[in-house]
């Protein structure tokens, strides 16, 4: 991210504006890949005897967030008179950034009731709910626009069918050895088609990845191959995001969004303390399979630790209305990620970091 900012128009301006505008498709490629990986992870968690916890945590987080964001949006619309919708929208997305940011997701992970597996489901659910909410806000709540909703439905169903067919063929023909070209081709195709129709490519790729993963018998092996390539996708993606970040934006608005996002993170922290206490009182011990933990390779962790999912969702916002806010939101999300990473290095001895390092060591060993 920092390298991208340095190279971009906000830094040394080595790369001119035309080039940074021409890289949107590459950002979509990276974002779609991250969404696809996240969907595979979610299916794997679901399979690893965590199904109930995954569903419970996923649903509660999603509904909780959806209710919270909707309340923010509605209250914002009622209180503010001019440009009410845009301001309320900004508040809702700021809340989403706060809840979907890496620190919040790590706190979800520490909840003793669902310590393993479901933390990712929580993060996944927040991102998913955020994208769906944004999708409906972007239609100006005109649900009667049947053609558009129908088109989205067609694209989502096509994603599921293509994912399942490709997955089935992969399973019959190649077993656990992944064939890249049809796989990458389908991902790009769906990402492009969904973006053209105004549907978030992240949603389409989540559907595609979920259907693909459901058809796999040896999902761990297939996912390992997908994960191997993740750094090769994630590194250019983050640099490209850095290039798109514009530091010359209105800092007052950015400050408001950052404060709100930080407030939500604080709320998440309180929620975490409360739940830890409840969990301890109930005497529930963490449960989970070593297999799941061991399969958490560094590359996979890095997607979550660096806020890849959240950034990817924000990076594709320009394909939808309210795009005038997307540079600001991207700036806030990028700041969030960089500050969080910096804080992790400074507070290396914090519990979060210890858990994270122990996972790394376990994987490494």
């Amino acid at each position: 991210l920092i390298l991208g900012v340095l190279l971009g128009s906000s830094g040394l301006a080595i790369l001119p504006g035309e080039i940074t505008n021409a890289i949107d498709p590459l950002i979509v490629v990276g974002a779609s890949w991250i969404a696809f990986t996240a969907a595979i992870d979610w299916v794997e968690d679901f399979r690893n005897s965590q199904a109930t916890a995954v569903v419970r945590e996923g649903l509660t987080t999603m509904l909780g967030f959806a209710g919270f964001a909707a309340a923010l949006f509605l209250v914002g619309t009622c209180i503010l008179e001019e440009e009410a919708k845009a301001s309320a929208y900004l508040a809702a997305v700021a809340a989403w950034i706060g809840l979907a940011s890496p620190p919040s997701r790590r706190r979800l992970r520490q909840w003793p009731l669902v310590k393993l597996g479901a933390w990712r489901a929580g993060g996944f659910a927040v991102v998913f709910a955020g994208i769906v909410a944004h999708q409906f806000i972007s239609t100006d709540f005109q649900f009667a626009s049947g053609e558009l909703v129908l088109l989205w439905a067609v694209v989502l169903i096509a994603s599921v069918i293509l994912g399942a067919t490709l997955g089935g063929l992969q399973r019959i023909e190649l077993g656990s050895s992944l064939q890249w070209s049809p796989f990458v081709g389908s991902s790009l195709l769906l990402a492009g088609v969904s973006a053209r129709s105004g549907l978030s490519p992240i949603l389409a790729l989540m559907a595609f990845g979920g259907a693909f993963a459901c058809t796999q018998r040896e999902l761990v092996s297939v996912r390992a191959q997908v994960v191997e390539t993740t750094p090769a996708v994630l590194a250019p993606f983050l640099v490209l995001i850095g290039l798109k970040v514009d530091l010359r934006l209105n800092l007052r608005e950015a400050g408001v969004v950052v404060l709100l996002a930080a407030g939500i993170q604080g709320f998440g922290f309180l929620r975490h303390i409360f739940r830890v206490r409840v969990g301890r009182k109930a005497g529930v011990q963490a449960q989970g399979s070593d297999r799941l933990r061991d399969s958490n390779t560094m590359a996979r962790e890095s997607v979550y630790a660096s806020g890849g999912l959240e950034l990817s969702a924000l990076a594709v916002l320009p394909c939808t209305p309210f795009h005038e806010w997307s540079p600001l939101l991207l700036l806030v999300a990028a700041l969030n990620c960089v500050l969080d990473d910096a804080a992790n290095y400074v507070g290396r001895f914090s519990n979060d970091r210890e858990n994270f390092d122990s996972d790394k060591a376990r994987v490494h060993s």
Partner: protein, 445 residues
């Protein structure tokens, strides 16, 4: 039995994927809900070409055709002249894929070249270079001269000028396609004297063609403008270019060796950075990227122990990049132009094919090559692709008055050679028993 089931499965997926996605593409156009179509069309196009190419490859394998032909067909079908799912603007926007592919092809080609194999084939390579460069050049020029009445752009020229253009055409006929050769070898996993000889010859012939074209361009300029003498400075520039490319490639190879030795992970990312980043740097300093990457790969294979690592990474990345590269080339084919010029183009291609076959036989006999090279040594030299088109662009820039028309003719002949050449080479590898399938069948017997 299993094979046919798999092919049926692939075919089903092909239908589902392509029809479904085509439907979706059409639907978005129909409803005009696209919010920023230009940005995403490139992504859709690349996805269509990758999916279509790789799935058609399964069908091609069933009828014993090379994958490369399937990629081309996928591109032609989806391209602007048939289904128009990939429009002309998208084809142009996909040019960065070609940059990466050419870097990868050259790097992979260099890694495949072993000094031991070159030494073993030295006599064959020297004779093949002499015979192919001279016989094909003369024969192709002669066919071109014989067809001059059919070529409108020659009508205003003097006989000396026509002869100069014919020589330029002959040199273009001498050029081959390293990418097609490497793609076929990657697909068939061929191993044997024919595979080793073809790869080594085609990679080395690139340098010969560059040299020949530079000299011929200097003479041709003098033929078209009497005030221009033969410019020795152009040879000096070529020397700079060749030596500079080799030096740059060696340095790049050394850097990659250090990386592979001490880090060695995330090679895909490294290849992406090297392919995109260094190609532009090389073009900026006016070096030849193909030669530089070839040298880098050659250096890594022959002067370090890291060749295997790089070879594996290039193969993995190549499986994806080749599909995109050739499918884009298919979409790039100008079908109306091909339709309009096919009789002349077919005659030129037939002449080149016959000359290549004859030169191959002569060279193999003079060098005392084994039977397999005498029979099939010429087969890998029929394909033409990006290199020939690049050279025709140089001619167009040097001679704007007729270069455009000549380039159109080059595009048509390259299209034919691009389709026919890989098929001939694969059949030859199969019949020589060097492809993996042929080897498995022989072992079974």
């Amino acid at each position: 039995m299993k094979h046919s089931t798999l092919t049926r499965g692939r075919f089903l997926l092909l239908l589902v994927g392509l029809l479904g996605s085509g439907f979706a593409v059409e639907l978005t156009d129909l409803l005009q809900v696209s919010l920023s179509a230009e940005t995403w069309t490139t992504v859709v196009s690349l996805g269509l070409l990758l999916l279509g190419g790789s799935l058609l490859a399964g069908v091609a394998e069933w009828i014993k055709l090379p994958h490369l032909s399937a990629y081309l067909v996928a591109g032609i079908l989806a391209g602007p002249h048939l289904l128009n799912w990939v429009d002309t603007a998208s084809v142009h926007q996909l040019e960065p894929v070609n940059t990466l592919a050419l870097a990868l092809i050259a790097l992979g080609g260099g890694v495949e070249l072993r000094i031991s194999a070159l030494r073993a084939n030295l006599r064959s390579l020297v004779w093949a270079t002499i015979a192919q460069s001279s016989i094909v050049l003369i024969a192709a020029s002669a066919v071109f001269l014989a067809l001059q009445s059919q070529l409108a752009f020659l009508r205003e020229m003097t006989s000396v000028q026509i002869a100069a253009v014919a020589v330029l055409w002959g040199i273009l006929a001498v050029s081959r396609s390293p990418s097609a050769c490497l793609a076929i070898l990657t697909q068939t996993r061929a191993n044997g004297p024919l595979a080793a000889f073809s790869l080594a010859f085609i990679m080395l012939s690139d340098v010969v063609v560059l040299l020949l074209l530079t000299v011929a361009l200097a003479f041709a300029k003098a033929a078209f403008d009497p005030q221009v003498d033969f410019a020795w400075s152009s040879l000096q520039t070529l020397g700079h270019e060749l030596l500079g490319s080799v030096a740059f490639g060696t340095t790049l190879g050394l850097g990659l060796v250090i990386y592979l030795r001490f880090f060695g992970h995330q090679l895909l990312l490294v290849i992406l950075v090297v392919g995109f980043g260094f190609t532009d740097v090389l073009r900026y300093v006016r070096f030849e990227p193909l030669l530089a990457f070839l040298t880098a790969g050659f250096f890594i294979q022959n002067f370090s122990r890291q060749g295997e690592k790089l070879q594996r990474a290039v193969h993995e990345a190549g499986s994806l990049v080749f599909v995109a590269f050739f499918a884009t080339a298919g979409a790039h084919l100008d079908l109306p132009l091909l339709y309009g010029m096919w009789p002349v183009a077919c005659a030129l291609c037939a002449g080149r094919l016959a000359a290549t076959w004859f030169a191959g036989r002569v060279a193999a006999r003079r060098a005392g090559d084994p039977e397999v090279l005498q029979r099939f040594g010429w087969a890998g030299m029929v394909s033409q692709a990006g290199l020939t088109l690049g050279l025709s662009l140089l001619i167009e820039r040097a001679f704007p008055s007729f270069g455009g028309s000549m380039r159109s003719l080059v595009i048509v002949t390259v299209a034919i050679n691009e389709i026919v050449g890989p098929i001939i080479f694969k059949v030859a590898l199969d019949r020589a028993g060097e492809s993996r399938d042929a080897a498995i069948a022989a072992n079974a017997v």
